[in-house]
């Protein structure tokens, strides 16, 4: 694999939580290369460290030790403001619990990343509407999250992740709170987005969800157990 042009280059990533006097080893030295436009699943049982890894990749959390390069930039050396900028411009997050602002409209939720990158309000509106259109929610833009179904909420979250044209989209168990049919619809959107050129990293503990991707990284007890390339026909 091409290490120089890698989108993500993780090297010996260790994350240890200290809970009281006990050390919890969430990640025990993860090495991982991810290229642009990949669609990759991180799969493993509950508690294996998937979310921890995801949060580190998404710059929401910092590793205890190890080197993380995102587009050749050393993330672990960045200060707080730089990390905020990376999260804003390079990363789009999709959470299991949606994490929408409950009292804001779908449109406003989608606009948020653009607010933080200083886009003018007229352009913001345009781009947010465009993003909502991509996930098929144009007709729900003025609805508040509690007026939307779970699947619709997750689509708002995906629109929000897309809107600032990030380098990668991270989705942590995006179908975990949805019924299987709605989950499938969401997975379809991710498939479409990847075909359109978006890099997607998906966390799941279910094989059939993971199989939507082109590559599955199996994680076990804080270690990568297997890196599996899926061959499509």
């Amino acid at each position: 694999m091409d290490k120089n042009n890698a989108l993500i280059d993780l090297n010996g990533i260790i994350k240890t939580y200290h809970v009281g006097t006990v050390d919890v080893h969430a990640l025990r030295g993860v090495d991982l290369l991810i290229q642009n436009k990949e669609y990759i699943s991180i799969m493993g049982p509950s508690g294996s460290g998937k979310s921890t890894l995801m949060n580190i990749i998404g710059c929401l959390d910092t590793p205890t030790s190890g080197i993380y390069k995102l587009e050749s930039e050393l993330v672990h050396e960045m200060d707080d403001n730089k990390l905020a900028e990376i999260r804003n411009r390079k990363i789009g997050f999709v959470f299991q619990t949606f994490n929408l602002l409950p009292r804001a409209s779908a449109l406003h939720n989608v606009e948020l990343p653009l607010i933080y990158s200083g886009v003018s309000s007229s352009e913001r509106r345009l781009r947010a509407e465009e993003a909502l259109e991509k996930v098929g929610l144009s007709d729900r833009k003025d609805h508040k999250p509690n007026e939307l179904s779970g699947g619709q909420r997750q689509r708002v979250a995906i629109a929000r992740a897309l809107v600032n044209r990030p380098s990668l989209i991270l989705a942590d168990e995006p179908t975990g709170n949805l019924d299987s049919k709605t989950g499938e619809e969401i997975m379809e959107i991710f498939g479409r987005l990847n075909k359109a050129g978006n890099t997607i990293i998906l966390v799941t503990h279910e094989r059939y969800v993971a199989e939507n991707a082109n590559r599955i990284v199996h994680i076990h007890d804080g270690n990568i157990a297997k890196d599996e390339i899926l061959v499509r026909n």
């Binding site: 998404g58 929401l60 959390d61 707080d80 900028e85 804003n88 009292r103 933080y116």
Partner: protein, 409 residues
């Protein structure tokens, strides 16, 4: 700069959203701020009103006028002592007039209240003032129609009268009053002049007074009264020198021994001014104290509510951080929110100040206005409280770890 303005605007919108969601709580929190700002602004406008109504009128008395009187304007001793002082007599007035020998006008001044009658019309309780030849200059009055008293009329205690503008309007209407006879009490007086309009002081119209020769007043309405001696000085730089001389002359004419206290008072506008200033300064200080205390209490309330708000909205903070909000933006958002709550309180308070001022203006004789500077000060104070007490909660919000916030339920 532009992007800063956009951010500011966005934050104001975000803050307004958050406040709208917690209307009741926001209003309750602002009570302290409202009380604080209301106190400060109201007292400021009351004093502004007093200044317009009172201070100006005091200064109308003129800083170049001295009064020798039985009673002091600002009492420092007990009233028993003052009451036991001898009355000031015409003999003393004349002694001062003869011996002062400086460039000053001296006149006795006394007054009584009597009923005025012309044919079937009568006016009750009209102030009858004493006049001498110097009175027009000292009281700053001019005759509009007719003339003032001559030396002869004054010296011969003639029953003649110069009437105020309103008296003429009420008793004579369209008739020319000159030469007509009116009754003051039980005595008939001939009108020889009508004064020009003078206006009013503390709601009392100066135009509803009349003047008669001083001796005529004694003769008709009784000798047993203390006279004020009014001294109008032309050269203001000599005030202190003249005061000393007046005191000396009064002590001489009253044959006071060196160890005896003055048994008269030398009054001057300055004394009233001083008392007035002490009073308003006291009011200001009290208002500032109450205002500051309420603002402090209000500020602590704001801080508390903001801390609760930060704790409750941990997840929101996490979401915003995950989407790229920096620490600066997060703290800015909460500071703006805090400022808006406080300024809202300030605005409500200013609204009530205007109401209060309107009420005072209507039901008291003092004009009351809300001065612009007090409005600005009120808004300034409340914004300052918003910033000051918003900083700690805002910093707290800004420092939270995004991942921890997102795990918050």
């Amino acid at each position: 700069m532009i992007s800063f303005l956009i951010k500011l605007w966005e934050n104001i919108l975000i803050a307004l959203r958050a406040l709208a969601e917690n209307k009741m709580r926001s209003v309750l929190t602002t009570v302290g701020i409202i009380i604080g700002v209301l106190t400060v602004v109201s007292v400021a406008s009351i004093i502004a009103g007093l200044n317009a109504g009172f201070s100006d009128q005091i200064s109308n008395l003129g800083s170049n006028t001295l009064y020798i009187q039985k009673y002091p304007w600002v009492a420092k001793g007990d009233w028993e002592e003052y009451r036991n002082r001898p009355n000031i007599t015409m003999r003393e007035v004349e002694y001062i007039q003869k011996n002062l020998q400086v460039d000053a006008l001296v006149a006795p001044s006394t007054a009584t209240r009597r009923e005025l009658k012309y044919k079937d019309d009568s006016l009750k309780d009209i102030i009858i003032r004493s006049a001498t030849i110097n009175t027009p200059q000292i009281d700053a009055i001019t005759v509009d129609n007719g003339r003032f008293f001559t030396h002869h009329e004054i010296n011969h205690k003639q029953n003649k009268v110069v009437i105020g503008f309103e008296i003429k309007d009420k008793l004579f209407k369209e008739i020319d009053p000159i030469g007509k006879k009116i009754r003051i009490g039980n005595t008939s007086f001939t009108v020889i002049g009508v004064l020009e309009k003078r206006g009013s002081i503390f709601g009392h119209s100066l135009d509803s007074e009349v003047y008669i020769p001083v001796e005529s007043l004694f003769k008709n309405f009784g000798f047993h009264r203390s006279i004020d001696i009014v001294i109008k000085i032309n050269d203001i730089t000599k005030v202190n020198q003249i005061k000393d001389k007046l005191q000396f002359l009064m002590r001489v004419v009253r044959k006071l021994k060196p160890n005896e206290k003055n048994n008269f008072s030398l009054n001057q506008q300055e004394m009233l001014m001083e008392t007035y200033n002490n009073l308003t300064n006291g009011l200001y200080t009290a208002a500032m104290g109450i205002g500051a205390l309420s603002l402090l209490v209000g500020g602590i309330g704001i801080m508390n509510i903001m801390l609760v708000s930060v704790a409750e909205r941990k997840r929101e903070i996490g979401i915003r951080k995950a989407l790229g909000a920096t620490r600066g933006i997060i703290s800015f958002q909460f500071i703006v929110e805090s400022i808006i709550i406080c300024s809202l309180g300030g605005l409500i308070a200013i609204f009530f100040s205007f109401l209060l001022s309107l009420v005072i203006d209507k039901i008291t004789p003092f004009p009351s206005t809300v001065p612009l500077w007090s409005v600005l000060m009120g808004l300034g104070f409340s914004s300052f409280v918003g910033i000051f007490f918003g900083i700690y909660p805002a910093m707290k919000a800004a420092r939270m770890e995004p991942i921890e916030c997102l795990h918050f339920e």
